[in-house]
Symmetry: D2
Subunit: 320 residues, 4 copies
């Protein structure tokens, strides 16, 4: 409310854990709809700008999405070197697409999202996110099921990016965090391909999903690297997993990375460069230890059940 003190009338309220609730004051509701798949809100909040919220989980907002989308896309692309074909699974806002299109080597990028209503609403209400990426001639948007698409496609991708909403039970995504799904992704890669997954929070109270995803990927790919980025509106450091059959460089030379970026990309990065990449890949000791101790993998018969809308369950471990 302009001129007022705190005073939002409407708040988006997200349970981070059953005892920790993050509330964001809404200045304007831009879209609010129950789609065929999920409850969608696009809201204009105060400090952090416009946000997409699906099934009560904050997806991304204009004020800090670069801290999610740049680390999601670029470590995999740098690791590959010069991706020509990129497949995005999920990615409704179009910001992942935007980052992929910075790579001059990219000739074709396909984004497969199950929820066309969300994609359309983001295209309309979140131009800061996609920045026209949907209209790039190299882009193709497929509205459909990621599993179906993977089953049908030949092994043609240099990079596959799994940018799905969290695997809450009520939501459409939990099957896409399993060994079976990751095996399909691996089969769809070209030789030398890279696979990257948004892989849940890495905060001490909630890191089980991340740790088990890393272990699940290690059962499928020859090499896996965990890394995290600070995304403030997630109220948690956010984890990613980079996987390939080739060894992954976890102590890259910043100058060499900068040289690759200077030659191979366009536009200005906000958070990413060689120094940032070196920092991202050095994960703290407690996360390394938890990964080393993990023994279980997610499968279609034992999928993740992530904490969703206010009900505690087993994926949320208490703090030690």
């Amino acid at each position: 409310m302009p001129g007022s003190h705190v005073g939002a009338d409407v708040w988006v309220s997200e349970y981070i854990t059953p005892y920790d609730v993050y509330q964001h004051g809404v200045k304007e509701v831009l879209a609010a709809r129950r789609t065929a798949f999920q409850a969608m809100h696009i809201v204009d909040c105060g400090t952090y700008g416009k946000a997409l919220v699906l099934d009560g989980k904050w997806q991304s907002c204009t004020g800090d999405e670069f801290l999610y989308h740049e680390p999601l896309v670029h470590p995999a692309c740098v690791s590959h070197g010069a991706p020509r074909t990129v497949l995005i699974l999920g990615g409704g806002e179009g910001a992942t697409l935007r980052e992929v299109l910075r790579w001059k080597s990219v000739e074709r990028v396909v984004m497969v999202d199950i929820d066309g209503e969300v994609v359309e609403a983001c295209r309309q209400h979140l131009p800061e996110m996609h920045q026209g990426a949907f209209d790039d001639p190299r882009s193709e948007v497929v509205i459909g099921d990621a599993l179906d698409y993977l089953d049908a496609c030949p092994p043609e991708w240099d990079v596959i990016i799994s940018d799905l909403s969290d695997p809450i039970e009520e939501g459409p995504s939990f099957k896409l965090f399993t060994r079976e799904y990751f095996e399909k992704c691996r089969r769809a890669l070209r030789a030398g391909g890279r696979f990257v997954v948004q892989a849940g929070p890495t905060s001490p109270g909630e890191m089980r999903l991340h740790v088990r995803l890393i272990n699940t990927l290690a059962a499928v790919f020859g090499h896996v690297a965990s890394y995290s980025s600070h995304v403030p509106t997630y109220a948690a450091p956010w984890g990613f997993a980079l996987a390939a059959d080739q060894p992954l460089e976890t102590r890259p030379d910043p100058a060499a990375v900068d040289a690759v970026l200077d030659a191979g990309t366009t536009g200005e990065f906000r958070m990413f460069d060689g120094v940032t990449l070196l920092g991202l890949m050095q994960i703290p000791k407690h996360i390394r230890q938890a990964i080393a101790a993990e023994t279980q993998v997610y499968t279609l018969t034992e999928p993740p059940r992530f904490f969703g809308t206010g009900v505690a369950e087993s994926e949320t471990s208490p703090s030690a």
Copy 2:
């Protein structure tokens, strides 16, 4: 409420920004008092354990305090190499003291906190934090004003750690985030001394305090390094500033750091080691750019006014 679903009856509610409120469900109120200096609550929350809350700002909790206290203490100590004398300004919970005492080289550590009631309540209710550090024969607790103590003490400290609550206007700390204060700290160091400050959030919407603190320190010390650690209950990456008159190593060799830690410290670190330190020191591009662009310093006549209890003001910048 054991056995119930969400259901805390009592919540601690913290405004992170005027539009972003983080609420923590309370299982038990352990202490609640207005001290001579501030409103104090010690509460047992659900997922993240026991927390100290001062003037409505979450200070630290047992579930993730290691992500704050280890990076606060050890980069400075590693940088020094073998600190014998350490001064802690603030540090009520005793967890900073606990970390300092890991260093075998330490002969004497003085903690100066203005609020004896908070220190006593933490000693009683938060043993997980101090772990007996107050009773170590090398420890000395002084209840008093940090500025007075600095004025009176000779230049005898190898490491000074400024572990103060945020400089909100209503609180007791805002003078201790100024050039004048940092000059006193510098004068109190021995040759080769290191100074480290908890230096505010480094999230995009709230990083002005951090950036200006780095610039303020750069006006006093020959060398300053910014770094951040993910502390989930802060709902922000948290910044620190390490300062010295000697050059600071920002790309340390992990193996060499581990060798120093193995030889020089006792006990088991949770998040800190050589790899972690290398990661901490690689700060993302947008923070480096903001620091490079900053021109102002905090002084006693122009101190910081950090966002406190629900009222927006100038230190909270909107997202770009």
Copy 3:
């Protein structure tokens, strides 16, 4: 979220007092707009149905609006006996209009609301409220300023109903809670006319507005009666003021009232009848005492400043 436990993602949050906040979980946002005059939300909440919220103040909802609109309209109409002309000032939802149109004697009812966008949104999204009242041939809606309308109209009204949003400083209504306004209303009445005002909460912590409004009306009209109705989503008993130059019956005979209603109205009342009216008019001792003790009146130079969006001020008195 259908099938879920608590779990609204979006909440409407209303400060009842600076320390008491009532939050309503939203199942669907039906409309959200900043009109030329105020911030408007129409939301579908859980237990209490669809609600209109203006400038952060809950106006009415389908689940309990009958507890507001029936007592607003019918005591004045019963007191008059057979109103032919009725003027509604405010009344955006159309529910006041709906109740007036039950009276067979009514030939013409004019509703003057300043905010045509709110009226239009209510017509579209809240059919449960207006139930077609806007389309009744006896109804006329004027979008404009109540003061201007009153200045221009002859003394032609049997009943005038002031159904305005609370006089918060940020809102458009505070001038319409003053002696000058009430004098205009009195001049616009026919002989034997009745004037009724929604007159704020009558809860102990917030009754100053109500009490002073009664006193202000008593400076203008020969007779004034205070009464209250329980409206649960207001988190307060809600006060009304009935004013006339003729004596007002405060101990009506229920059977006689029922006879008037049976003969003079159509449709089924939900909460109102003779017994209900007898109960409404018996106000508790503490409210009678507060009214008897009040000495001040609201004027254009000393208008009410009602507690609005999160800032305490003088109209909110502490509990005794």
Copy 4:
């Protein structure tokens, strides 16, 4: 936080319905304990003073408790005329005891509460509530089970007052809202005795408990009267049930009641007198209709399951 704007750090949060949450800002936590029976908080809130909260349900607060305790006690006592012996079941705060002791005719009043820790905490922290009633020579406090006490006591009571916390499943009270319990109460009355029960909210969205309690009492007693009082911090009008084997006066003469009170009681009532009683007994049409339509009774095998801490269930009916 004195001097601050809104800004409580700690809030008591009560689910009124699964979609309506009332939050009260806490200025000071006076007591917080898990007793043998329930979670207890005594807190000093802002506008409405000090409150007792049991198992997350707001019991009463100093700012509006008179709107609960005066109507709980005095209609039954007026109806009896000159009670000499009074039994209070529940009543931890001592405010019900305080009101009973106003009656000069009272020679003996026994209060039976299951939770001695709550009674002791109220005695210590809520003197505004009991006002010394525990020390009156006519008072006797029994810590024990109401059912056991009723089984053991002869039919010696002129008035029995059931002042129990709501029958939430997690709490200790739900058996005491059943026909079996009411039969025990009836047997414990002297000839001409009166029984009164706090009988749940009468708001449209939550009135099932009240309505069914009235019907349950009608299966036990010859005559039952429902009435409600506005208690703002309950965010609902609150229902009571008065029961006896003699006809109950529902249209009392205010002057006659005032004469009884003047002669028979001491001290100053805040809300209660003859006019207030006349008003209380005239319940609105929709509540009368719901009572008339109710067919079921609560028994030990089918007890009430009131909405407790955040989980919707059958006692909470949606609005019509």
